[in-house]
Amino acid sequence: DVKVTQSSRYLVKRTGEKVFLECVQDMDHENMFWYRQDPGLGLRLIYFSYDVKMKEKGDIPEGYSVSREKKERFSLILESASTNQTSMYLCASSLDGRIGPGYTFGSGTRLTVV
């Protein structure tokens, strides 16, 4: 089974800090995604990547950046954390959602910015 691992389950950071959320998948998937999950808002796409060193903005990219230097690793960066970035962050990967089982998700990182 494909496994998507997010480095931290819980994280507490201070306002203004630079924050790195790491995601690693072990099945050679081309596509990787970062979503943010908030109660009553569902999941919203922040950034995604179809290949190494390639990235595209999702629906809410402001305040975030990403890095994909290796195929298996997709990092989400909060350049200067703010309290409105307190949320659950979900990473996902897919080989080809059209023929496969859709996305495989990580277990999420619950980030609190104080």
């Binding site: 569902g42 995604f48 089982p101 996305y103 999420g108």
Partner: protein, 116 residues
């Protein structure tokens, strides 16, 4: 842009009963995929079922089945013989096939509680 609407924020059902979760979506495309995901308290998102828009036959997976009404843009999930382990958040999601995009657009989710 595509949108996915789950109008019921919360539902509860007794164990062994049948429950239906509703989902509607808006798109101008004719070819796409629809998904239902489950997120239990462990937070792990799990694929429940998927439906290809070009298929007329409704998808089924054991106790889970969908009622896909393409003209009405409706995609409801029926859970038969509900079990305590079905307690979770359920998300409906849409995937466009245009432009090679693999992006999923999610609804806001619905909290299902199965009571003993």
């Amino acid at each position: 842009a595509q949108t996915v609407t789950q109008s019921q924020p919360e539902m509860s059902v007794q164990e062994a009963e049948t429950v239906t979760l509703s989902c509607t979506y808006d798109t101008s495309e004719s070819n796409y995929y629809l998904f239902w995901y489950k997120q239990p308290p462990s937070r792990q998102m799990i694929l429940v079922i998927r439906q290809e828009a070009y298929k007329q036959q409704n998808a089924t997976e054991n106790r889970f089945s969908v009622n896909f009404q393409k003209a009405a843009k409706s995609f409801s999930l029926k859970i038969s013989d509900s079990q305590l382990g079905d307690t979770a958040m359920y998300f409906c999601a849409f995937m466009s096939l245009q432009g090679g995009s693999e992006k999923l657009v999610f609804g806001k989710g619905m909290k299902l509680t199965v009571n003993p």
